[in-house]
């Protein structure tokens, strides 16, 4: 009987506050649905046994944690807002004789209702949608979709436990808030007198400084490895700076506007500037949260979309032929004499014939690569000592003979003694000669030449600076290399410092499975061949593009899918914050607009003032987010290089498109929520 009473009270409370609770319930259900879907996908068997499915599921598993943590934080945030608005009601119950224990019971039943309802709707929706997402993902990694419908009960169980814990914490927090306040506070809590904000110049400048430094970091970092290191530092700095700037900096800005009397005392600025100042102080945190969420959405979607779209070209860049193997040698002499008369090519062609195909589009390339560090004057140290070398200056120097260059490019270039041509895929060449510290060799740079394709893959792969030196006589480079070896006979860097290899690649007519079979046969042959005593090949690697393709698609589809899901969740969060913000402000502004009308403000003036103020306040986070994105662009594009994506143009396009789409969605949300605000403000009578 008694329990029934509290339960009914809780139910009525939710019903009466539909405007507040409905969005909360929907969000909660959505979070649960997404949590379930992601969990389902991370464990579902049909993906697991697909090629590339393993990488995909590994990435998606990360999402389970991210969604869980984010849901918890966000539900907490929303609920504290709900409690704030409902304190008056609880105060009334208290005055009417319900003790705080009773209020806790009402809160308890409310939590139970919200939990049960969102769990029910959420898991139902999750179960229904999970198959759809599974099919979509399978399609993305080019697998075969099966249509067995299944429910992952452990997923529902884990979602129930996790969200049960969240709601328990939320409930305890609400009880704490009610317990530690007295009746009068409860009744009055929505209209506590507000002080005029003080401009905090120091904080404003600090915020600007932090933001400036973070932007500087993002723009100035040249090397992907340091980009990875500093990305999180910069991100945290930007988040902190956004909060400081929107809370304190905007007040400073408004105060500055106020100081300009001729600007401030104008009909169109007077009301909006002063109320903006208030708004910022109270809602600056909300705006900053929206801004951060928008930035996260922009970064996530633009980068993951770009990666996914770029998968194929990324793959082609890493594996220029269907089957590629590379053999490594200990010395250039050995390498050249072996390549001139090697048994491998013939044998590989035989294997192809046995499989009913032939080697087409053959690629055969020799590379001599030294890794080291370079300074601005072009002095290369092959063996950098670790203490005083930074990542930025690490470099791959590739040697190429003039003969080879002329053969590949079809040109007829000439060189004198001690001269070299140079090219670089990504580094700036601004030195007139290049010298090698350890050996004393020095080459005058005769000029830059067009790059030859498919050279220097390693530099691209590891995202280091690169130069290719075209030298007349290959024995020159040999000298350089061997001298270096002589200086450091037992160095630990040998493998990475000097690499002499021969790469051989070819295409076939085979289907993917057959191609992988062929690759395995070639592998077996190479393994046998290279273990022979007389063979100078030190080691070898072999890859089939079809084998890698599945992994690539699995990985990038996983990123893309997860990016979309997370962004969707972030978007919901941003929309909900906006919605609640508009409602709070609507209630707050009602009396203010009544007064202004009494003093002689026309309805038109009011509309205009609301509009300009809302536009500013509303689009401020979006503008800030776009700015953040613009400055994050160089840094993120360097991070994308780590994943092998070098097409900056593609990233620019996806970034622009994402920003546009998000701005559109934001505008729609603005239209809808601002009409809610108008209704709240204009609904009151003038009395």
């Amino acid at each position: 009987m008694k329990i029934g009473f509290y339960a009914r009270l809780a139910r009525d409370g939710i019903k009466k506050n539909k405007k507040l609770y409905l969005p909360y319930l929907i969000t909660s259900a959505l979070m649960i649905a997404i949590f379930y879907i992601i969990f389902y996908l991370s464990t579902c068997a049909s993906l697991k046994y697909m090629r590339g499915g393993a990488s995909l599921q590994m990435i998606i598993t990360l999402g389970v944690f991210v969604i869980g943590v984010f849901s918890a934080l966000f539900l907490f945030y929303t609920n504290s807002f709900l409690i704030k608005r409902r304190k008056k009601e609880f105060g009334l119950y208290n005055i009417l004789g319900m003790d705080k224990h009773g209020i806790s019971k009402v809160l308890f039943w409310e939590s139970i209702y919200v939990y049960a309802l969102s769990m029910l709707v959420g898991s139902a929706g999750g179960i229904m949608l999970s198959k759809l997402f599974e099919a979509g993902l399978t399609h993305m990694i080019a697998g075969v979709v099966d249509y067995d419908f299944s429910i992952n009960f452990s997923g529902i169980f884990i979602a129930a436990i996790a969200f049960g814990c969240f709601y328990l914490l939320i409930f305890l927090n609400a009880v704490r808030q009610v317990r530690f306040s007295n009746v009068i506070d409860l009744v009055k809590s929505t209209n506590v007198g507000e002080k005029a904000p003080k401009a905090n110049w120091v904080l404003g400048i600090v915020g600007l400084g932090i933001l400036g430094y973070a932007y500087y970091l993002a723009v100035s970092i040249a090397n992907p490895i340091s980009a990875l290191l500093y990305f999180f530092v910069a991100a945290i700095m930007v988040i902190v700076a956004t909060y400081i700037l929107l809370i304190a900096g905007s007040v400073v800005f408004c105060k500055l506007l106020q100081k300009n009397k001729n600007y401030y005392y104008q009909k169109s600025h007077f009301v909006s500037v002063s109320s903006m100042m208030y708004r910022m102080k109270r809602n600056g945190a909300g705006l900053a949260s929206i801004c951060i969420l928008l930035t996260m959405i922009l970064v996530t979607i633009s980068s993951t979309t770009c990666l996914y779209i770029g998968t194929e070209s990324n793959l082609k860049e890493s594996y220029p032929r269907q089957i590629v193997f590379e053999t490594y040698f200990n010395s250039i002499d050995e390498m050249y004499s072996y390549i001139d008369d090697n048994p491998i090519v013939g044998e590989v062609e035989k294997i192809c014939k046995a499989n009913g195909t032939e080697c087409k589009n053959i690629m055969s390339a020799v590379s001599c690569v030294a890794s080291g560090s370079i300074d601005s004057k072009g002095v290369v140290k092959i063996f950098p000592t670790q203490e005083n070398e930074s990542f930025d200056r690490l470099i791959y120097v590739t040697f190429m003979s003039l003969d080879e260059y002329n053969k590949s490019s079809g040109k007829t270039l000439e060189l004198n003694e001690g001269e070299a041509y140079i090219w670089s895929e990504k580094s700036k060449v601004d030195f007139s000669e290049i010298s090698f510290l350890e050996t004393g060799d020095c080459f005058k740079i005769k000029g830059a030449v067009d790059p030859i394709e498919e050279k220097n893959q390693k530099a691209l792969k590891y995202m280091l600076d690169d130069v290719t030196l075209v030298i007349d006589n290959f024995s020159e480079s040999l000298k350089v290399m061997e001298k270096t070896k002589a200086i450091n006979p037992n160095n630990d860097y040998e493998m990475s410092a000097l690499q002499m290899s021969w790469k051989f690649g070819f295409d076939t007519d085979l289907n993917p499975d057959e191609e992988i079979g062929l690759k395995n046969q070639v592998y077996n042959y190479l393994h046998e061949e290279c273990s022979k005593e007389e063979c100078p090949v030190e080691r070898f690697t072999i890859d089939a593009i079809e084998e890698e393709r599945q992994d690539f698609y699995g990985t990038f589809a996983g990123f893309f899918f997860l990016g979309l899901m997370l962004s969707f969740v972030f978007l919901i969060a941003a929309v909900l914050i906006i919605y609640y913000k508009q409602i709070t402000e609507g209630y707050e502004d009602q009396p203010r607009f009544v007064i202004m009308q009494k003093v002689g403000m026309t309805k038109k003036d009011i509309k205009k003032s609301i509009n300009s103020q809302m536009l500013t306040v509303f689009y401020l986070p979006l503008a800030f987010a776009a700015l953040h994105m613009a400055f994050a662009f160089p840094m993120v594009s360097k991070l994308l290089m780590m994943f092998g994506l070098t097409d900056i143009m593609l990233f620019a396009i996806t970034t622009a498109a994402t920003t546009l789409v998000i701005a559109l969605i934001y505008a729609v949300v603005y239209k809808i929520t601002s009409s809610i605000y108008y209704n709240l403000v204009s609904s009151v009578n003038m009395d």
């Binding site: 507000e194 002080k195 202004m596 003036d605």
Partner: protein, 254 residues
């Protein structure tokens, strides 16, 4: 011609579906001359607030006319009403109605800014008024930093800075302590002596006794009126409370 003419004003409130109608004002007639200080008294529910809302052009009478300087309120276009109010009427409210987001100075400037004045002119207007009302030192403060009496004085400054034809005051002493009430009433008297027409709705006999004329409203009609004439405020106070007693008894008799 009188400054303000109220002729046969009637106001009927209808519930939304037109089921019940309530007659708030039956038939109100009175004039206010330029420079007069008129108080309107009546019990709760007598129609005082309705009348004031109509005089403030916040509400429209069901029938009858209100004229200010010969200009008919009903002839003013809907879109111009706020402007008209801003230019011709000054308001002082029981709850001050100062905006908490503005300093006192900016609160006082609000109607001028809305009318599109220049800052220099505004400042020139404010300086003497602020001195007269004794709030020169408080101008930079915010409403929450000052007392009720000080807030009300700022509200008065806001009301008279536009040189309104008539100052409408709705229970201006309702939220003030007795000392602040005296100060405000003295202030009204000073302003009135300087030529400002004032129309004040009040419950307080003390406040009404400072006016030059008192109108009593009952059941939607002007029931009675008293002129102060040469009487002192104390004598007038007595007369008003006698009338109020009479009114109350009359109410019982019905």
């Amino acid at each position: 011609m009188s400054l303000l003419e109220v002729k046969g004003v009637k106001k009927i409130y209808k519930t939304r579906l037109g089921g019940n109608s309530v007659e708030a004002l039956k038939n109100v007639n009175f004039d206010v001359e330029e420079g007069e200080y008129v108080a309107i008294m009546g019990e709760s529910g007598s129609g005082k607030t309705t009348l004031l809302n109509i005089l403030a052009a916040l509400d429209k009478p069901t029938s009858g006319r209100v004229l200010l300087d010969g200009k008919d309120f009903s002839k003013i276009k809907e879109s111009k009403v706020a402007e008209f109010r801003r230019d011709n009427l000054g308001f002082v409210f029981q709850e001050f109605n100062l905006l908490d987001s503005f300093s006192l100075e900016d609160n006082i400037y609000l109607p001028l800014v809305l009318a599109g004045g220049r800052h220099e002119e505004m400042k020139q207007k404010l300086t003497p008024i602020a001195a007269k009302l004794g709030i020169s030192d408080l101008l930079k403060k915010y409403p929450y930093e000052v007392s009720g009496g000080q807030k009300q004085r700022a509200a008065v400054a806001r009301a008279i800075i536009t040189d309104p034809s008539i100052l409408l005051a709705d229970e201006p002493t309702g939220a003030l302590d007795s000392k602040a009430t005296d100060e405000l009433l003295n202030l009204f008297e000073t302003i009135n002596k300087a030529g400002q027409t004032i129309l004040m709705v009040t419950h307080s006999t003390k406040a009404a006794s400072r006016a030059s004329r008192v109108l009593f409203i009952k059941d939607g009609e002007v029931f009675h009126q008293l002129y102060k004439g040469e009487a002192s405020s104390e004598e007038f106070y007595q007369k008003i409370s006698d009338t109020l007693t009479l009114l109350a008894k009359g109410g019982e008799r019905r």
